[in-house]
């Protein structure tokens, strides 16, 4: 399957050509996947990869375009997950305002985006390794706060009995509809980031990553641009949080623990931060490994295994799987030019 992703647009191209062969093949394959996949593969592999791909995408937006590596993306997703549990229905006998999904979801995503902007506002004073450390501190603090707070977060048990809604005559908690729901939101987020990367704001973000000092000297309020990037990343992470709580049917401090925060970072780095498709590739690899490698190597060794895969990929290709692909592709192109082919 070709993943060739071209963003060079000439005015003569129609929309199909602009989309590129790689995108079309990928889209068709993802649409047809439910025809061959079991329910388990649809949700536990497909849906779960798409959700974590979206989380990785929100990190890719910040890190790849903005040069800000965050460990708090799962925290942001957790805020919208908790908001869904609190604003909608749960069976934990606490809170649960019973709002309909179409009211609860926008509020949950808004809460996540605002929380993300706040985290961004706190952390944009730092750079590089310090951004990682301050976001890790925020993620850890939120985890412990959620564990100890019963009034809002219901302590370490969190909320259970949260269900994806049924509307338009479709029960979205069923395997196939839920997969398509995840696919729809993932494609939407992916397309938005891909388009946005060449928008005015996308360019300002990449320019700030390359040289914040010069951006100030061109009239830009650098901090405001960074915080806005956090807000946008928060929308994507917030949407992923909604899907995550519908997928699990529950949310607890364990959902937003440090191991989950590191999973998101591993996914984004393994996949590659250069292009928004990277985190989705990384998510598929990590979810497949989490699902099957545990049976083979056992739970204790699993972290060692994933750590080694992480090291190998970072060592062999700093741009992750995307970078590996970029190295193989020129070979393939040359082979296809050989006489007789």
């Amino acid at each position: 399957m070709s993943l060739a992703i071209t963003t060079n647009v000439t005015p003569q191209q129609n929309w199909l050509e602009r989309l590129g062969a790689g995108h079309i093949i990928l889209a068709v394959a993802l649409m047809l996947y439910p025809l061959v996949a079991s329910d388990f593969f649809l949700t536990q592999i497909g849906g779960y990869s798409l959700i974590f791909g979206m989380l990785g995408l929100s990190l890719m937006l910040l890190a790849g375009y903005g040069g800000m590596v965050s460990l708090a993306q799962i925290t942001v997703a957790g805020i919208s997950a908790y908001a869904i549990a609190i604003l909608g229905n749960n069976n934990s006998n606490i809170l649960g305002f019973g709002w309909p999904w179409w009211l609860a979801v926008p509020f949950a995503v808004l809460a996540a985006a605002l929380a993300s902007a706040l985290i961004g506002w706190v952390s944009v004073r730092t750079e590089g390794i310090y951004t990682i450390m301050i976001t890790l501190a925020i993620a850890t603090a939120t985890y412990y706060f959620a564990q100890q707070n019963y009034a809002i977060f219901n302590g370490h048990s969190g909320y259970t009995g949260i269900r994806a809604p049924a509307f338009w005559g479709i029960g979205w908690r069923d395997a196939r509809p839920f997969y398509y729901l995840c696919l729809g939101l993932a494609v939407l987020s992916y397309a938005a980031v891909l388009y946005g990367s060449r928008s005015t704001f996308g360019m300002t973000l990449q320019a700030i990553r390359d040289n914040p000092r010069r951006m100030r000297a061109l009239g830009y309020h650098v901090t405001a641009h960074k915080v806005f990037a956090w807000l946008l990343a928060g929308v994507i992470a917030g949407l992923a949080g909604v899907l995550l709580v519908w997928f699990n049917g529950r949310v607890s401090p364990g959902t937003i623990g440090v191991d989950a925060a590191i999973d998101v970072l591993i996914i984004a780095v393994i996949g590659g931060l250069r292009h928004p498709i990277g985190p989705f590739l990384g998510a598929v690899v990590v979810v497949l490994m989490q699902t099957f490698a545990i049976d083979i190597v056992g739970a204790e060794r699993f972290n060692t295994l994933i750590g080694m895969v992480f090291l190998v990929i970072v060592f062999v290709s700093p741009d992750g799987i995307l970078g590996l692909w970029g190295r193989i592709k020129p070979h393939l192109a040359q082979e296809s030019l050989r006489p007789g082919q």
Binding site: Y195, G196, R198, S199, T200, F201, G202, M203, T204, Q206, A207, R209, D210, N211, R213, R214, M215, R216, A217, L218, G219, Y220, H221, V222, H225, F228
Partner: protein
């Protein structure tokens, strides 16, 4: 004192682009700038000369706010900008170039200039891709031509040659209707042809745009400026016309006669 040269010359006009009063900058114990008083009229073109480490770049950093001065006040077209953040100073029409190019390695040449135009315009947060007919894109294209980079329109900045990067440095400072520009050694490392181009570009700037140019090459400096300030050890110690400066015995001793560079 030093400012009296400029002040006398401009008596009655009253319109200063830049006024510095007692500006100083310390780096720990190091006094990089001290007691700088300067008056530059709107539209005036000034050269600042001085040996390495004299404090010329630090002077620029104080004016643009890259590094705040430790003492003194700075006025830009009459407005006190001493406490403004850099981007607010830029939006008032101040621009600068850097001695060491400060560019966006991951962007194309055109996109870099587009951002320079957009920085002092509206829709800086737009999530839409700019159309080719976008006002700022059109401006960017014309600046691209003005600095002779049209052949490198879509080239990644990281792959430009040194000379082309210096041209882009200047392009970024010309964007968006500047009123006053600080050029920090724009000719450094350029070939003779590129220097000629640079002089042509500077002389072709609209008359109302004033600038300060830091330049080691006296030939270049004298061809693009009408007035010269000499710096030494963080102080302005002489101002005058190019002829006065060249003839001044003190200047000859410290700067022109001895080693400089």
């Amino acid at each position: 004192m030093t400012e009296s040269f400029a002040a006398n010359r401009l008596q009655g006009s009253g319109a200063y682009a830049l006024e510095l009063d007692g500006v100083a900058r310390h780096f720990g114990a190091l006094v990089a700038l001290s007691g700088i008083n300067m008056r530059i009229a709107a539209g005036e073109r000034r050269a600042v000369l001085g040996s390495n480490g004299a404090g010329k770049t630090t002077l620029f950093n104080a004016v643009t706010g890259d590094f705040l001065p430790t003492a003194g006040r700075i006025r830009f077209f009459g407005e006190d900008i001493t406490d403004l953040p850099p981007h607010e100073r830029i939006r008032r029409g101040l621009r600068r170039t850097y001695q060491i190019s400060q560019l966006f390695k991951g962007l194309s040449v055109l996109d870099s200039i587009f951002l320079a135009c957009r920085g002092v315009s509206r829709r800086r947060f737009s999530l839409l891709r700019p159309a080719t007919s976008d006002v700022n894109m059109v401006q960017a294209e014309s600046i691209l031509n003005a600095v002779h980079l049209e052949a490198y329109r879509d080239t990644l900045v990281a792959t430009l040659s040194h000379g082309q990067q210096r041209q882009l440095e200047i392009a970024l400072a010309l964007a968006g209707a500047p009123r006053f520009i600080l050029f920090d050694e724009p000719a450094a490392g350029l070939s003779p042809t590129e220097r000629r181009d640079l002089v042509a570009i500077l002389n072709a700037l609209p008359k109302h745009i004033g600038y300060i140019i830091i330049e080691h090459d006296l030939d270049v400096a004298l061809r693009v400026s009408e007035y010269v300030s000499m710096m030494h050890n963080g102080r302005l110690f002489k101002e005058g016309t190019p002829q006065e400066i060249e003839a001044d015995p003190e200047v000859q001793e410290i700067y022109l006669g001895g080693k400089h560079g």
